[in-house]
């Protein structure tokens, strides 16, 4: 059995600081953009999403519950390393009893969702504006029984 990476929970101020330190890798993280949004806006967005963020080394992972379906969570990671995401999914499955996960990732950004058993289920065209151009967003879905290590 694969050893699960340990995650450290971040409070709002720490979460914002960590996201900003990730730079471009955090753009689109749960729909946030620490490059164009200031601290107070990021804090308001995190509160609105009911998001919880964690750090694993230099990677930040996080989730926001789907308020219409308590067994589903939106997840995000700032790294293409699958281990921090696997640890988050293990936590969500065990302690939040989530059965499905949704990830929305800007197109062209290297990500770890396929490595963690996620399946691409759609594309949101021109969902983001970044670097003077429109950017599509890829939608991934994972299930607890196929995403855990």
């Amino acid at each position: 059995m694969t050893e699960i990476l340990s995650l450290q929970r971040l409070d709002t101020d720490m979460a914002i600081a960590e996201l900003k330190s990730c730079g471009g890798a955090a753009r689109g993280f749960l729909g946030l953009d620490p490059v164009t949004q200031n601290d107070s806006l990021l804090a308001a967005e995190l509160k609105s999403l009911q998001a919880q963020l964690f750090s694993a080394g230099e990677t930040v992972v996080g989730f926001a519950p789907n308020t219409d379906q308590p067994r589903q969570a939106y997840v995000a990671s700032t790294s293409a390393d699958p281990e921090p995401l696997r640890a988050l999914l293990e936590f969500l499955t065990t302690y939040q009893r989530c059965t499905t996960f949704v990830a929305m990732v800007p197109d062209g950004v290297e990500n770890c969702f396929a490595d963690c058993g996620f399946e691409q289920v759609g594309v949101l065209p021109r969902h983001r504006w970044q670097n003077y151009d429109w950017q599509d967003v890829l939608v991934y879905v994972g299930r607890a029984d196929s995403c855990r290590s």
Partner: protein, 151 residues
């Protein structure tokens, strides 16, 4: 058809027997008698635009993002008359009045919404999310439908 701003006297139009957050929120025939109606709050912050279709219901542009120029739309109607005209108005208001570039919303196929009317005004199915909402005691699939302005 014209959309107008919300007034306090429109409060009755903000609640009804439809799924929460639905792009095409139409009255469900078998709404459980003990379930409270779905309600949207009156506008309280600049992150949303709540419009009223007089006599019909509301149109709510929520999750408004002025950087990415997009919004998620929720509609709650107390009848289906004039839905095709209303949808044209919703898209025109979003693109021309709010100057958005993209409008999207949630569609739940299980409640059999008239998706042909969505397609007629340019919406396309963009993603299918399994188990994304809860109805009749079980999780059901939801779809994201969106339309992009072509300049």
């Amino acid at each position: 058809m014209r959309l107008r701003g919300y007034r306090g006297s429109d409060a009755d139009l903000l609640a009804g027997p439809w799924l929460p957050g639905e792009l095409l929120g139409l009255p469900l025939a078998d709404w459980p008698p003990l379930a409270a109606p779905t309600t949207v709050p009156p506008p309280a912050d600049p992150g949303q635009e709540l419009c009223i279709a007089p006599g019909l219901g509301f149109v709510r542009y929520t999750e408004l993002d002025w950087v990415h120029r997009r919004a998620r739309v929720e509609i709650g109607l107390h009848g289906v008359d004039g839905l095709d005209v209303l949808l044209k108005t919703v898209v025109a208001h979003g693109f021309l009045t709010l100057n958005l570039s993209r409008i999207h919303g949630w569609v739940t196929p299980l409640v059999d919404p008239p998706i042909g009317l969505l397609a007629d005004v340019g919406f396309q199915r963009e993603a299918v999310l399994p188990e994304a909402t809860w109805l009749d005691g079980r999780p059901i699939d939801r779809e994201i439908w969106g339309v992009v302005r072509n300049d």
